[in-house]
């Protein structure tokens, strides 16, 4: 087992639970000992950097400082989420490049009892660690149920191969690493030239036309190439294509059905692990039909679960959860109601 520092990021406990579950299932097989950082905080996603420079870097800097404190012999911090990976790497890079930023971030961290020297931690994305550290030979050795016949569209998204501060990726437009990994699992990898096109990020929440347009483009291209499902390496990509697919269909009056799973889920399946243990079934666009093609049975969701969910929703409403009101949000005083 090789020990790595692990920064899960907020989605892993929520919308990307399947990613977390499948990663937990395959990590021992791959010899990955993922030590989750204690008391990590949100990386700010694509939002915080637009609010204010120094606070945004300090927010991420706290995580890097925690990682350095908890390093214990290792210096590689693995992030499964592309946005988290990018923000962590970007902060390390910017602190190294800018002495002023380094000074200000550390002056801020000091208030919380932290300090970070850029370069102390190497930030890497989970996929890249599996490709370059674990290696395809080991992955191949663990495959007991090759996904032969499953046509998959490898969707890498933008933030892993770009902007690539640490020059880990030779190709920024058409990398084939995910393709090679999926081929190692026995899957039939379709040529998917949109592999690093953008899923829109938060755009589905901002501009419907644009956000849904980007999602549709990715789905249509995967369909056109005969993919049974798409494969993601990022919670946000998966969320956009999976959770928003229904709304996108309604918006454009289409009826696409393109499941998208995390690459870790497919790895688990190829390793012969149980679908439920891998979070399969948590996707909104049902992947069971696609998986049935390769003889993988996914237990259908029970009615009880749905009812339980509705009960939980009602329960959640009743609980006095701190639902933020916009007027409470910073800078809200000037807002007027708009539609």
């Amino acid at each position: 087992m090789t020990r790595y520092l692990y920064y899960p990021g907020c989605s892993m406990d929520a919308s990307a639970r399947a990613y977390q579950e499948s990663l937990a299932a395959i990590a021992p097989v791959l010899g990955l000992d993922l030590a989750e950082l204690d008391d990590w905080n949100c990386c700010g996603a694509t939002e915080y950097f637009g609010l204010s420079r120094t606070p945004a870097y300090a927010l991420v800097g706290r995580n890097l400082a925690i990682a350095a404190d908890q390093a214990d012999g290792t210096r590689t911090l693995v992030a499964p989420c592309s946005a988290c990976f990018l923000n962590l790497a970007r902060t390390d890079h910017a602190m190294a490049e800018s002495p002023v930023l380094r000074r200000d971030v550390n002056a801020s961290l000091e208030v919380g009892g932290f300090h970070y020297d850029p370069g102390a931690i190497t930030v890497r994305h989970l996929l890249e660690v599996i490709m370059n550290e674990v290696g395809l030979a080991r992955v191949s050795g663990a495959v007991s149920r090759p996904l032969t016949g499953l046509r998959v569209a490898p969707y890498l998204g933008c933030m892993v191969p770009r902007p690539d501060y640490a020059s880990l990726w030779i190709r920024h437009e058409q990398p084939r690493d995910l393709d090679r990994l999926l081929a190692t699992l026995g899957a039939d990898v379709v040529d998917y030239p949109l592999t690093t096109e953008c899923c829109g990020g938060h755009m589905a929440q901002i501009s419907t036309e644009l956000g849904f347009g980007l999602i549709r483009r990715l789905i249509v291209a995967a369909e056109a190439r005969g993919a049974d499902l798409m494969v993601a390496v990022c919670p946000m990509c998966q969320m956009n294509i999976d959770a928003f697919q229904g709304e996108m269909n309604r918006h454009f009056r289409t009826s696409h059905h393109m499941p998208i799973l995390f690459f870790t889920q497919l790895m688990g399946l190829a390793f012969g692990q149980e679908p439920t243990r891998l979070g399969i079934g948590r996707e909104l666009v049902d992947a069971s039909r696609a998986l049935a093609r390769v003889g993988i049975e996914v237990p259908p969701p029970s009615e009880d679960e749905l009812k339980a969910a509705q009960r939980e929703e009602a329960h959640r409403r009743k609980q006095a959860l701190p639902m933020p009101h916009l007027d409470d949000a910073p800078g809200a005083e000037r807002q007027e109601v708009r539609r």
């Binding site: 437009e173 058409q174 030239p193 483009r217 291209a221 056109a224």
Partner: protein, 681 residues
């Protein structure tokens, strides 16, 4: 180590110091008068008897000033503080020479390139100029008279590379009556120009203007044409280079071969021609790259020959009417002597595969510029039909992308100079061969030569659509985009300020030019430098673009940077003119910087013997000392620094000169001592 006793007469040296204003180039950042006064007052004790400043020291009046002082004040040393010695050292050494003083008793110290042009703080710059001058004064106290080395010039010349630049240089020299060895590594001369159909802006047929020159050089009695050959070693120096050329086996007896072409017809082996046809066409295992090849003799590509692969075939031998096939032919090493060298090894095209978003190599109907040259060439693989990769379909819309690999910090930051015009030519050729709509995507249209902008205007008349914007990406049309089977050019039309996705059938990537991948090896072979990019470096970018820092080695054409055909031809001719001036003079004076061993001090340890890459040092067994052959010594000084006995000295750069200069630079001997020298403005 210090020289309290000045060299020269017992009376001490009489040094003249001359500080140049260089207009405002020096005086703008350095207080020239203060430097002059410093020399007069503080260096008088070091032998400075006169210090002057002058607006332009290099002018004839400035030089006369020095000459007059040498004569009238009896100066025996002169230090000029002005520009770089690489600029004007010869000028001032000439001046003192005219006044009867040995030229090497004059040094030039740089207070322009090393001071006024690089520093902004006037006070600090002035102090540094003083220190540099002090270093020069201390150093020159140790200078001794030297005589330049005179070398005779062998009238033969080596021209490396048989493109248009090399052909031009070879013809100029040969027509002047001198022997030329023209070495080309491909089976035929002609270079890139031979691959083109038309040349901009006149649209001359490239073959029509090139072929006569190829034939002329190939049959010229003064030219020894060595194709399918490479220079593998060069030694010696200007006037007397020894050259070794590897003449690769052609497997064809050129005495017997008539160039009839039957062997090529009968050869069963067909391979993709990656060189001449840019990968777009085929050639045989035995081949001449193109019908007008010079020489006409084919070569057998032994790595793509059935006989060499399987031991049987020999179809060529069977059918050759003159029995010229020689499977047992061996590579040959040829050596000869030349006095001068012209390097015209050309350039490569940027490999567009490196720009992934343009899809070259992934998307079939994306073509490189060289591919398109072959596609549109009537002698090319399609006979001049401009068609898609399927070999059949004529495109109805074509996009031509500028600046592919040029003006891009990811690849080459420079402008490749030829691509705008090349792209315009392509647009014209597409229109000439097809009925397609043609788009040109450019950042800036650069047409700065005779007839070039007129050509741009002509293309507008022809209906080419110009879109100002660097293409962001090229991809296959997605079903949703409603242009199935087409390529989509994604671009911001910067003049309209909108993002456009333009569907086309064909994309031509106007690739920039790059140094050849072996440029560094070529530079090393000939002892010249190349830039970080890989372009060979000229002696002076403006005033001496065809000479190099190695005397006798010249460069012409695309090897020193992007150039179009007219510029390459001009450089080939210019290089020839320079060589001719050497040949006409018959001899050349070289700097006398050589190492020599003082036999009395040499301990015979032989440590120096292995240090010399020019084999100039030999050990004399009988006298148990080492000796340096001045004819072979290149003056690097490694042996001088290595000699544990200090027995080796280096004329011009001797140890006492350097040590004294260090002391001077650190202002060791500065101070008022003795009478102040005359200050004369």
């Amino acid at each position: 180590m210090t020289a309290d006793e000045p060299a020269g007469t017992g009376a001490g040296p009489r040094i003249g110091v001359y500080v140049c204003h260089c207009g405002s180039n020096i005086a703008g950042a350095v207080d020239v008068e203060a430097v002059r006064d410093f020399a007069a007052a503080e260096l008088a004790g070091r032998g400075v008897v006169v210090a002057r400043d002058y607006k332009f020291m290099c002018s004839s009046l400035g030089q006369e000033l020095i000459e007059q002082d040498v004569r009238e004040l009896g100066l025996d040393r002169v230090v000029v503080a002005a520009c770089s010695p690489h600029m004007h050292e010869k000028t001032f050494r000439g001046a003192v020479g005219r006044a009867g003083l040995n030229a090497y008793l004059c040094d030039l110290v740089s207070i322009r390139e090393q001071v006024s042009w690089v520093h902004t703080d006037r006070a600090a710059a002035t102090e540094k100029a003083k220190a540099i001058l002090s270093g020069g004064v201390e150093r020159i106290r140790h200078n001794v008279p030297l005589e330049p080395v005179v070398v005779p010039i062998d009238p033969a010349t080596l021209v490396v590379g048989g493109g248009i630049a090399g052909i031009t240089a070879a013809l100029e020299l040969a027509n002047a009556g001198h022997k030329v060895y023209l070495v080309e590594k491909d089976p035929s001369i002609g270079g890139h120009m031979a691959q083109f159909d038309k040349t901009f802006p006149t649209l001359d047929c490239a073959a029509c203007i090139l072929t006569p020159r190829m034939v002329e050089v190939g049959s010229h009695p003064n030219v020894e044409l060595l194709t399918w050959s490479e220079v593998v070693n060069v030694s010696g120096y200007v006037g007397d280079f020894q050259v070794t050329v590897l003449k690769k086996a052609r497997y064809v007896d050129t005495e017997l071969c008539t160039g009839c072409g039957i062997c090529q017809e009968k050869c069963p082996k067909k391979v993709v021609d990656e060189v001449f046809e840019a990968g777009l066409g085929y050639r045989k295992g035995v081949y001449t790259p193109f019908p007008q090849a010079v020489p006409k003799y084919p070569v057998i590509d032994r790595y793509n020959c059935t006989y060499y692969e399987k031991g049987t075939c020999k179809a060529c031998e069977k059918f050759c009417p003159t029995g010229a096939i020689r499977f047992d032919q061996q590579d040959e090493l040829i050596t000869f002597k030349v006095g001068n060298i012209v390097i015209s090894t050309g350039f490569s095209l940027f490999d567009a595969r490196r720009i992934e978003e343009y899809g070259y190599g992934r998307l079939p109907n994306v073509f490189s510029s060289l591919e398109f040259e072959r596609l549109s060439n009537s002698a090319g693989p399609t006979g001049g039909r401009v068609v898609l990769r399927d070999g059949v379909t004529e495109p109805r819309s074509v996009a031509i992308v500028h600046c592919v690999g040029s003006r891009d910090r990811r690849y080459n930051a420079y402008c490749s100079a030829i691509c705008c015009m090349q792209s315009l030519k392509f647009a014209h050729l597409v229109k000439e061969h097809t009925a397609a709509t043609v788009y040109e995507f450019y950042i800036d249209m650069r047409t700065p030569a005779k007839g070039y902008d007129e050509f741009y205007q002509r293309l507008m008349d022809e209906g080419t659509i110009f879109v100002r914007g660097k293409v962001a990406a090229i991809h296959e049309a997605e079903a949703a985009e409603g242009a199935a089977g087409k390529l989509v050019v994604q671009v911001e039309d910067t003049l309209a300020g909108v993002q456009r996705r333009i569907p086309v059938d064909m994309v031509i990537l106007s690739a920039g030019v790059e140094p050849r991948s072996d440029a560094r090896d070529v530079a090393r072979l000939f002892g010249i430098s190349c830039s970080a990019d890989g372009w060979l470096i000229e002696k002076h970018p403006k005033l001496d673009p065809i000479a190099t820092m190695e005397e006798g080695v010249h460069i012409a054409g695309g090897v020193s940077g992007p150039k179009d055909i007219p510029a390459s031809v001009a450089q080939g001719a210019a290089a020839a003119a320079r060589v001719l001036s050497h040949i006409a003079a018959g001899q050349l004076e070289l700097e006398p910087y050589k190492a020599s061993v003082a036999a009395t001090a040499c301990s015979g340890c032989r440590l120096c013997n292995g240090l010399c890459p020019f084999s100039a040092i030999s050990y004399l067994e009988d006298r148990a000392v080492s000796e340096i052959n001045p004819a072979l010594c290149q003056g690097c000084g490694v042996c001088v620094a290595a000699c544990p006995a200090g027995a080796i000295s280096a004329s011009g750069f001797d140890t006492d000169q350097i040590l004294a200069q260090i002391e001077g630079l650190l202002l060791e001997h500065v101070g008022p001592a003795g009478p102040t020298a005359g200050v004369l403005a």
